[in-house]
């Protein structure tokens, strides 16, 4: 009883973790299912069919490729624009700083559906054809703020004297930026870029409003929830999960090894 009381936090925390992980376990297990109907919600029997033929469903892999493509371009766009804003906010004093800061903050403080709906209102009023470009425009817009936040946090924590030292050593502004500022800010930029990629790849609400007839991967999953969920969706979900965890683990290992090497 004493033990239970002392470890109450640990037990509660692990319960929450189980709640968080459970759906992923279900997704993985059901990627080996062989359902009888159109929906993959009830367990029937073990099968490797879906893993052998992940693109066996019409349009599935096309939508996946489209999502990757949009996520890539949105990441590039949002990272470049966002990093520039972050540098300007941290390194320069100028008028309208407060206004710029709130303009960056607002998209993060608003339900996604409000941005989605208002962007659709703009495109409808302008008579813009919905599709690849409207999705890309929307994704760059909502990823931008997250990049600014990530890069800003990193640049704020760096010592401005490093840049002064570079200038004292006769480095020009471009050289200072490329040799000193950019390498130090790189982890923040990388974090912002990764976040953008994840947000764009998995975005549903804004895409749902502004995609017209274009089908991204989340749109495909949404449609399949009405028409019938192929097992291949679970295969792709599981594969994405495994790949991402591997990337994180390998990245961690490389990071610790590098740190150890530096200490030697």
């Amino acid at each position: 009883m004493q033990w239970l009381r002392r470890n109450l936090v640990v037990i509660a925390g692990l319960c929450t973790l189980a709640y968080l992980i459970l759906p992923n376990v279900v997704v993985t297990v059901f990627s080996f299912n062989n359902p009888t109907g159109r929906f993959n919600y009830a367990w029937q029997e073990f099968s490797l069919d879906a893993w052998k033929d992940p693109c066996g469903v019409a349009d599935l892999c096309g939508s996946l490729a489209l999502s990757l493509q949009i996520a890539l371009w949105a990441t590039i766009g949002a990272t470049v624009l966002g990093a520039m804003i972050a540098f300007a906010l941290v390194r320069y004093r100028f008028r309208a700083r407060g206004a710029v800061n709130s303009l960056i903050f607002l998209p993060m403080a608003m339900p996604e559906i409000v941005m989605a709906a208002s962007l659709l209102a703009l495109f409808l009023n302008m008579g813009v054809q919905l599709g690849f470009w409207t999705i890309l425009i929307a994704h760059v817009m909502f990823c931008l703020s997250f990049v600014v936040a990530a890069v800003k946090a990193r640049v704020l924590s760096m010592d401005p004297r490093l840049e002064e030292a570079a200038r004292d050593l006769y480095a020009g502004p471009v050289q200072t930026f490329l040799r000193v500022t950019l390498p130090i800010a790189a982890p923040g930029i990388a974090a912002g870029a990764l976040l953008s990629f994840a947000l764009s790849f998995d975005d549903f609400i804004i895409t749902n409003f502004n995609s017209g007839n274009t089908v991204t991967f989340p749109m495909f999953v949404w449609g399949s929830a009405q028409r019938g969920t192929p097992v291949q969706i679970n295969v792709i979900g599981t594969a994405m999960f495994v790949i991402a965890v591997l990337v994180v683990v390998v990245g961690q290992m490389v990071g610790t090894r590098r740190k150890k090497a530096q200490h030697k």
Binding site: M84, I85, V114, V140, V248
Partner: protein, 309 residues
């Protein structure tokens, strides 16, 4: 664009930078800001204006919509859809409270008790993100299936009696009830609660805990007087990051709920994309934005003062 803004590399570095045109240097931040800010103005601020204009238009799809300053749309939208508004706020509020209740122990565990398992636990909190959230939400259909083990267990321990007394479930079903929707919302936004909580807990100096113990504070008192107040920044940003997206969500209500659990997001989505009643949809979305912004502002003010006490 930044390359054009920055002056070309000085070939004679020994020269002090007196000759450089001062105005050009002053303009650097504006050049850096220009593309991103223009993007936000055109695709974030301007759409708000268009939405405002759409909300006071009248007309039909065939004849086109005209701005007629028809403010009645707001009144009609509110009187027709206020149950969905209240339901959204109720579900989002419940999900936020549950996230805080469930997320705090895990954040505390990772920050203070995990030791060398800390990084692994953090990866496990973030990892679910890597699978599309729609797929994970669909998995709840399996987990909460009628007659499944989870529902059976909840029934046995009498949990469903409590929730049906609260009006959150009916009979021995969980799917297509408010409980399923709240459960999905809580699940989807839990990491947004845990991560800020963890960040603010991790910053707390553990010597403060020891000091409280030395001053004969019980663990409970230490938590109430030291740990929790110091974690307030995390609590505030975590609750905001949970409540704001949850209030406008329609995915959970659509996939896990029924027509009786429709939230305001579902109404806006179907008005815009299926019924094509743009003015009503725009008005509803405007009201949602106003409600959320007002609530958030009041909440930040309140939480800010409590933080100081």
């Amino acid at each position: 664009m930044s390359a054009t803004a920055a002056p070309p590399q000085a070939p004679a570095p020994a020269e002090p930078p007196v000759h450089r045109p001062a105005l050009r240097k002053k303009l650097v931040p504006y050049w850096l800001l220009l593309p991103g800010i223009v993007w936000l103005l055109v695709f974030f601020v301007l759409p708000m204006a268009y939405q405002a204009s759409t909300s006071v238009q009248t007309g039909s799809l065939e004849e086109g919509f005209q701005v007629t300053w028809h403010f009645r749309t707001y009144w009609d939208a509110l009187t027709e859809y206020y149950p969905q508004f209240l339901r959204s706020l109720l579900y989002a509020g419940t999900a936020t409270a549950l996230c805080l209740l469930l997320g705090y122990p895990l954040a505390y565990l990772i920050a203070f008790k995990a030791g060398r398992w800390r990084n692994l636990l953090l990866v496990l909190v973030i990892a679910p993100f890597f699978t599309s959230f729609l797929i994970r939400t669909l998995a709840w259909k399996t987990i909460l299936a009628d007659g499944g083990p989870v529902v059976g267990a909840l029934n046995t321990i009498g949990f469903l009696d409590v929730t049906s007394w609260l009006g959150m479930t009916e009979g021995d079903r969980v799917l297509a009830t408010p409980l399923a929707v709240v459960c999905g919302l809580t699940y989807n936004f839990l990491p947004f609660m845990i991560l800020p909580l963890y960040t603010s807990l991790e910053r707390i100096d553990t010597r403060l805990h020891e000091a409280a113990g030395d001053l004969y504070a019980t663990p409970a008192t230490t938590f109430r007087k030291v740990t929790f107040p110091l974690s307030m920044p995390g609590v505030v940003s975590g609750t905001l990051l949970t409540f704001i997206p949850a209030s406008g969500d329609y995915v959970n209500a659509e996939l896990l709920g029924s027509t009786d659990t429709r939230m305001i997001g579902n109404v806006i989505q179907s008005q815009y994309l299926r019924i094509l009643d743009y003015p009503t949809a725009a008005a509803l979305s405007f009201i949602l934005m106003a409600v959320v912004l007002v609530m958030v502002t009041i909440y930040i003010r309140r939480a800010g003062t409590e933080d100081l006490v």
